[in-house]
Amino acid sequence: MMQAFRKKHPFIDVKFFRAGNDKLLNRILTETGAGKFNGDVILISSFEVRVLLQKKLLQKYLSPESSHYPEGFTDKEGYWTSVYSIPRVVAYNTKLVHADAAPKSYEDLLQPKWKNSFCMSDSAVLWYTGFLKFSGEEKGRDYMKKLSAQKPLFRDSESIITQLLAAGEFPLGLTYSHQVGTMKCKGAPVDWIRTAQPIVTGLKPITLSAKATHPNARKLFIDFIISKEGKELIRSFNRISARVDVASELRAGPSYIRRSHAGATITSNMSRSSDRSFLSKPNRTCRFSGFL
């Protein structure tokens, strides 16, 4: 991606700092507090974007490319556009669990045989909230209490969960579909369950820093990332684009999105438009964007 941008604009020296969402947010806030923050463009998850918006650290930019995104994937006021979507799915180790014996739904996870067998991130706040939005507050909380009684294991990131799942540390895990797909492509014994609903999907927005010191270069970069060319590159590393003119597993057509509860979007009839087997067959997803 960086190479493609540099090739297109060789006169721009692109420097970047990369860290996980939490660390990146802390760094931005710390540097801002010290008056040393010099970031032009920020790519971070929706929860952190909400924090940055509250602290007035972002500025608007209505890219001409953002018109190619459906409602909910780009901010009407111009503060952000989602570069890709991140579905959280129930995955399993295929050596430890045969496909036929794998749970088919979230309800199946409550069976006694899966006690102490399911691993999830201790910061899966978006998943929790999206699940409750989808199921309804009362039903959702009731499910979470039952899941808690199953004594799930906790790790601090989905990357670690996926790696440990592949290593056979536990048979089931709640993790990102693209990570499972990438590991499966490399031959790891992992797969994910298409029938477990809802698939709560987060956004990865790209935004302009309010402190940006390179007003033209930053806009060029955002235009490139969310352009059709940029989106094809995004797909090349197993991420799902919401852009309407790029084949997407999250989009079956303009009518698929319907607003339900405030902040949540339920999409149904997901179509199969990719050749990536790990993204096949899901028929419903709940994309939660309540923090934006």
């Binding site: 990369r18 971070i44 952190e48 390179h214 094809e232």
Partner: protein, 59 residues
């Protein structure tokens, strides 16, 4: 009548108008891709803060 007003208030409004035109003319947003590229060339640098390793994405 306008000439009369101009005579009464002097050249000050005209000067203020010219200054404003100059300021806002230069500060106007640049929207064309070519202009953005020209501006970016002068800037020569870009600082990104990323929570994703975009270097994985290849053409």
């Amino acid at each position: 009548m306008m000439l009369g007003s101009f005579r009464q208030s002097g050249p000050l409004p005209l000067i203020v108008f010219a200054i404003c035109l100059g300021i806002f003319g230069f500060a106007a947003p640049i929207w064309s891709a070519d202009d953005l590229a020209a501006g970016a060339k002068k800037e020569g640098e870009l600082n990104l803060y990323l929570s994703t390793d975009l270097s994985d994405a290849k053409a």
